[in-house]
Subunit: 239 residues, 2 copies
């Protein structure tokens, strides 16, 4: 039985962290909202999100369906997939450490989103441009460095090559995705910072070279970055 | 051996979700940054946060030390405590569900914080007042209702009395804390909304009546809400 992933069909967004884990694990899945209606499409996703009879309705996409189990929240989905498909450590302490890294990545993702939408997701960027400029400035000057510096530190202390040591985990796939997103949204600021975090850059390259990931990135299943997702390129936010 | 909790000593903040779980579990713990130096105090916390030899340094407080295990990220700490002290379900699906609820509460907490600091945590409120007014308006008009409405829905569908059914979990303690915080920060908006979410309010009361929680709330261990924490009262943000 294959997994069903539910996420907005036109963006990488938070769904991409789940897609990368599914692709690396090599397990079959249906990206439901990208599949044709009536079985697929956004209506099929909304039916689970807003349906009156869903016992455990997710708060928001992405969510994953595995048989009768419906799991929302990216980090929780990755805990589930990680344990099932060898993408997280076998020890409790190792699993908690990888989860902690993932939750920190999730915080970074939220902050990256809020650089272009600091006031409200329901408003246009154009209606929060001034606040966006200020928030992006703080993100570039303080937050990006703090986050990427922390990933560099833990790679150094752990001995690598992966975040949790010798074995790849879902957190490595997520860090790859975050660096790709930062390169897209803040090419100048990211380029400057990358000199200071060589281990993070090397990890990104190592993930991109994984056969399953390389095949995925070259396929049509990988949606290109665009101006609707979490990472968006507004040149004025990366002067 | 008792747990060591590390968090900023003058605020409830994210540490409070951990404190509530420890108090309900009735396990001994030291709130290290609130203990006297040299063993306690903020320097003891910074030593683990910034120390060169910490193998798994947390990104930020709160973090919990249990023997040699050091766990950061509130939701990860609660996974750990929940499994050890009967504050999460025994089944995998139940644990994932409670974790998913907790991660949604964490998102709400971040959004509540950002109402008064939409631009940068490193700036004063006074320097981001205009953006704060706009973000708070969206939070009150859209987000609070969406979050509290979701909690109400899952309480209704699950049959209660707790979020995950018949047994209290750490997510219930966290929802209590969030409602307390919203009442402090947005008394008017919260009062209006509470009429629509009677199950959430009843759960809050049920948590407050737990003997261990009632004793904690009446003790000096409970730091009062104040203008330094995540939930702050600025009357202009709750007109």
């Amino acid at each position: 039985m294959s997994y069903e992933l539910y996420y907005w069909p036109t963006i990488q967004g938070r769904g991409e962290f789940v897609r990368l884990a599914l692709e690396e694990a090599g397990v079959p899945y249906v990206d439901v909202a990208r599949a044709p209606e009536p079985d697929g499409g956004v209506p099929a996703m909304m039916a689970l999100l807003d349906g009156d009879s869903v016992p455990h309705p997710p708060f928001a996409p992405p969510f994953l369906k595995s048989g009768r189990l419906l799991i929302g929240q990216t980090a929780a989905i990755l805990v589930f997939l990680g344990e099932r498909h060898g993408l997280s450590p076998k020890t409790e302490s190792g699993r908690l450490w990888v989860h902690q890294i993932q939750l920190t990545i999730a915080d970074l993702v939220t902050e990256a989103h809020d650089t272009h939408h600091p006031i409200a997701s329901s408003l246009y960027y154009e209606d929060q441009r001034e606040a966006a400029a200020r928030r992006a400035e703080s993100f570039r000057a303080e937050r990006m460095q703090k986050y990427l510096g922390w990933f560099e530190t833990i790679l150094e202390r752990g001995g690598g090559p992966w975040l949790a040591g010798r074995s790849l985990t879902y957190a490595d796939l997520s860090l790859f995705q975050v660096l790709e997103g930062l390169r897209f949204a803040f090419p100048k600021a990211t380029k400057r910072l990358e000199r200071k975090v060589p281990r993070v850059v090397a990890l990104r390259d190592r993930v991109a070279d994984r056969p399953a990931i390389a095949a995925y990135l070259a396929s049509e299943r990988r949606i290109p970055f665009n101006q609707m997702g979490i990472f968006r390129r507004y040149p004025e936010l990366d002067p």
